[in-house]
């Protein structure tokens, strides 16, 4: 009890600098015996204790950039450009810390029953950095650059569902989809979909509605932003200057943060983060289980893997806890053999977590009637520690009497030559925008990326029905069933979902965990301030 009270005081302090999520705070507060209402009030009070202050130069050191970066939203792929983009531009839709869509430049929306026809209201009184006032045509243009025959935008696929889009008035956009999708506003929150003025093409001198303007940009080295002076979001964009440094090496990032050369760093090393947590000058923000989903994926149409018992043996035979402890130093949560994370509102909380059970693995392997070794292809090219994970997997399978051959293949061209081709290989999946997108892209029959080749008509029907279901309770039930089907029958062994680990100087406020991405949804330049 004593221990909890101490933790709660610490959590209260963190809440004051908004470094802890409401969900985590409430859990802790209720463990000490507080009622939910009292805990909620306590959190709000602590959170309101600080109002943002203006000023200062905020220096971020981030991994995830390269000398080939560009501020053309059709080329974004990694953290540095996403964070840079969100300083200069605004998106159509933003997400709150729990992951629910809230209005950004599209202020509000409404769907007709069936979720096919949508009306979006464009926020009024917002100006671009060149003085132009935002209207519906800018929104249309900013969506149009990701559509059409010749675009190479990664967002092309998610926008293919738009059958018709037009401006009803300068402040309203009407979108008709080819089929209903209750999650459509979530889709419009994709980070590629930033808003630029109608007809804009000069990506080296970006014009946006964000809180900062670009001062200089050396790809792969540094970006500098200056405050625009006016911003339509109250209490946001508080720094005078923001510097974003590319620091690829995690040790270099850590050293720079410790010696005070930068105020924020992303993707800390799980192996050294414990040491940094004990440093009073630093504030480590951990977002549990929203990072990459690490999987070993079998193609269920391939001989051997078409046997459901074999797939169950693969799932029971992996020691998730051991991999998480030894490879990720405990900074990951076990996966439950599907790629939805527990931050998603539709995460199946009733399904028990699958654990390592060598007896069950041996039982199902025997029942499958198969014998002989199983070959797993893995590579540093899948993700950095994929080989380590595979070797631990081999060990735990051996205890169940199953021989797993781990074959290490070349990192170069891994995604071209191995993924979607080999019967059993290492794969990671990033977070998808919504439950619907997760299920459609990863497990849908029509998806090119259905890497387990698990194509089940009943599952597709369930996902389709859930997509247009506007009744939340019913929808939740359907998505629960979807997860159950994948975990029971699918070809994917999803064993871990990593935590995001950010480091901040303790004078940085507003560094909260976020359901979507690290660095407070890559918006820390906009959301943070100096104490």
């Amino acid at each position: 009890m004593e221990d909890f009270a101490k933790k709660l005081r610490e959590a209260e302090r963190l809440a004051a600098r908004s470094s802890v999520s409401r969900r985590d705070f409430m859990q802790l507060a209720m463990m000490t015996g507080l009622s939910a209402a009292a805990a909620g009030a306590m959190f709000s009070k602590a959170e309101a204790a600080e109002t943002p202050k203006k000023g200062g130069t905020f220096r971020m050191g981030m991994e995830g950039g390269s000398a080939t970066d560009s501020l053309d939203p059709r080329t974004y792929a990694d953290s540095v450009m996403i964070a840079a983009s969100l300083a200069v531009y605004n998106c159509m839709v933003e997400f709150d810390s729990a992951g629910n869509p809230t209005g950004e430049l599209l202020e509000s929306w409404e769907a007709k029953p069936g979720a096919v026809e949508w009306i979006f209201n464009v926020r009024q009184g917002v100006t671009f950095s060149n003085g132009k006032t935002l209207d519906a045509d800018d929104i249309l243009y900013s969506i149009a650059i990701h559509r059409g025959e010749e675009t190479s935008s990664p967002a092309k696929g998610i926008l293919a569902q738009i059958a018709d889009i037009k401006a009803v008035s300068p402040s309203q956009v009407a979108i008709t989809l080819s089929s209903g999708n209750a999650d459509f506003p979530v889709i419009l929150g994709d980070y590629h979909l930033v808003v630029v003025p109608n007809g804009f093409t000069d990506w080296q001198k970006p014009i946006g509605t964000g809180g900062y303007v670009l001062e200089s940009f050396e790809p792969g080295v540094r970006l500098v932003f200056q405050n625009r002076g006016e911003y339509w979001k109250e209490g946001r964009a508080n720094f005078d200057t923001v510097e974003l440094l590319n620091i690829q090496d995690v040790a270099a990032r850590t050293a720079a943060l410790q010696s005070g050369q930068i105020d924020a760093a992303n993707r800390l090393d799980a192996r050294t983060v414990d040491l940094m947590m004990s440093n009073p000058d630093l504030n480590i923000v951990r977002t549990k289980g929203t990072g990459n989903r690490f999987c070993f994926v079998s193609r269920v149409t391939q001989p051997g893997f078409d046997n459901k018992d074999l797939r169950l043996a693969l799932k029971y035979g992996i020691d998730r806890e051991k991999i998480i402890d030894s490879v990720y130093s405990g900074y990951a949560v076990p996966g439950n053999d599907h790629t939805l994370d527990s931050f998603n509102p539709y995460y199946n909380t009733e399904m028990p977590q699958r654990a390592y059970d060598p007896d069950k693995a041996a039982f199902h392997f025997k029942k499958s009637g198969l014998s002989g070794p199983i070959t797993l292809k893995t590579s540093e090219g899948a993700w950095g520690s994929a080989v380590d994970c595979a070797q631990l997997y081999q060990e735990s399978m051996a205890k169940a009497g199953i021989t797993l051959n781990v074959e290490k293949v070349s990192a170069d061209g891994y995604w071209d030559n191995v993924w979607l081709k080999e019967p059993f290989c290492a794969v990671y999946w990033g977070r998808r925008l919504s439950a619907d997108q997760t299920f459609t892209q990863t497990y849908g029959s029509g998806s090119d990326w259905n890497d387990s080749d698990w194509r089940v008509p009943e599952f597709d029907k369930l996902v389709e029905a859930a997509r247009v279901e506007l009744d939340e309770a019913k929808r939740k039930e359907m998505y629960f069933a979807c997860q159950q089907m994948i975990a029971e029958d699918g070809g994917m062994v999803c064993f871990a979902i990593t935590d995001y680990l950010d480091g901040f100087s303790s004078k940085v406020m507003g560094a909260a965990p976020h359901a979507r991405y690290d660095m407070n949804d890559n918006r820390i330049a906009e959301k943070g301030w100096f104490a």
Partner: protein
């Protein structure tokens, strides 16, 4: 002499041509292309095809190479395929950074290595000889990033004397640059010292046992004069070529140091280019690196002739 220089320059250009051809072929052989590297694993065949046509990758390889070559010969290295930035414009500041770091390290390492090398040769087997050998060989025996991290830990994190980030920008003053680049320059110094020091020591020692040196001593010349006037010029040729080799290494071989100290040099640019299969970028970097090697080696040969009396006046 002039003929030698002209021949070397001509051969150098030929080498560069072969290098670009080899690199082009190697990049073609690598699995994946710029389109799949840029668009990532989430690309659909549809967007890939569109991007390839946009970049002109649908044309045969030899056409693309010849086109690149014609433009390069006219001084146009093209634009990066990935972000459409002018390659020369991006490369120039990075090249000057690389040269700055290489020059900085060389300015410390070369005089120190030669002086210590000569001193060790004179004091063969004595304390200073052994100390210099042990220290420099020790430094070269551990991986470069290890030295870098040790220096960062001691001088940046614990003592706070120097910054751990050595990122330099265009608008930085010279003294600021010298200050922030101190740690990588020292790291590189430690890496290249041993080779030059050992070579200096060995060639001076070899000369010192020659009869004409003994003769000079017998004439009653002071030791200093014997070493500087009689021994060193004759020992210079191998020293110069080792120095040239190490200078070339300082320019082309420091990617790891660039990453650890976050230094915006050419090495990182080339690695990023290779990861994305961005051919104009890779070729431009290869030209720079190849050019550095050819230039420094030619310079070393010419200098070796100039300092050596016997080579200068061939009989």
């Amino acid at each position: 002499m002039l003929r030698l220089i002209i021949t070397r320059v001509f051969l150098g250009c030929l080498t560069l041509l072969v290098v670009t051809l080899l690199i082009f072929v190697a990049t073609e052989i690598l699995p994946g292309d710029v389109a799949s590297a840029v668009l990532g694993q989430g690309a659909t065949p549809d967007t890939l095809a569109a991007f390839r046509i946009e970049l002109g990758l649908d044309r045969p390889a030899y056409v693309r190479y010849l086109e690149w070559l014609t433009n390069a010969l006219q001084g146009d290295l093209g634009v990066a395929m990935t972000n459409k930035r002018d390659v020369i414009e991006t490369l120039t500041p990075r090249l000057s950074n690389t040269l700055f770091l290489a020059g900085y390290a060389a300015a410390i390492a070369v005089p120190m290595a030669i002086v210590l090398g000569v001193l060790s040769a004179i004091n063969e087997g004595k304390f200073i000889d052994r100390a210099a050998n042990v220290l420099t060989l020790g430094a070269i025996s551990v991986p470069e990033f290890f030295i870098a991290y040790i220096l960062i830990l001691v001088f940046a994190t614990n003592l706070g004397w120097f910054p751990s980030l050595s990122t330099v920008y265009a608008d930085m003053g010279l003294w600021d640059k010298i200050y922030v680049v101190a740690l990588p320059a020292v790291t590189l110094t430690l890496l290249v010292m041993a080779h030059m020091l050992r070579m200096t020591r060995a060639s001076v020692l070899a000369i010192m046992s020659q009869p004409y040196i003994e003769m000079a001593f017998l004439k009653g010349l002071p030791r200093r004069r014997v070493i500087l006037r009689h021994a060193l010029p004759n020992a210079a040729a191998p020293i110069i070529s080792v120095v040239a080799l190490n200078l070339a290494y300082l320019i082309v071989g420091v990617v790891v140091i660039e990453v650890v100290f976050v230094y915006p040099g050419v090495g990182q640019y080339m690695v990023d280019g290779v990861t994305k299969r961005d051919l104009p970028v890779i070729q431009a970097c290869a030209l720079v690196f190849g050019g550095a090697f050819v230039l420094l080696n030619t310079l070393a040969d010419v200098l070796a002739i100039l300092v050596n009396p016997r080579l200068r006046h061939p009989r």
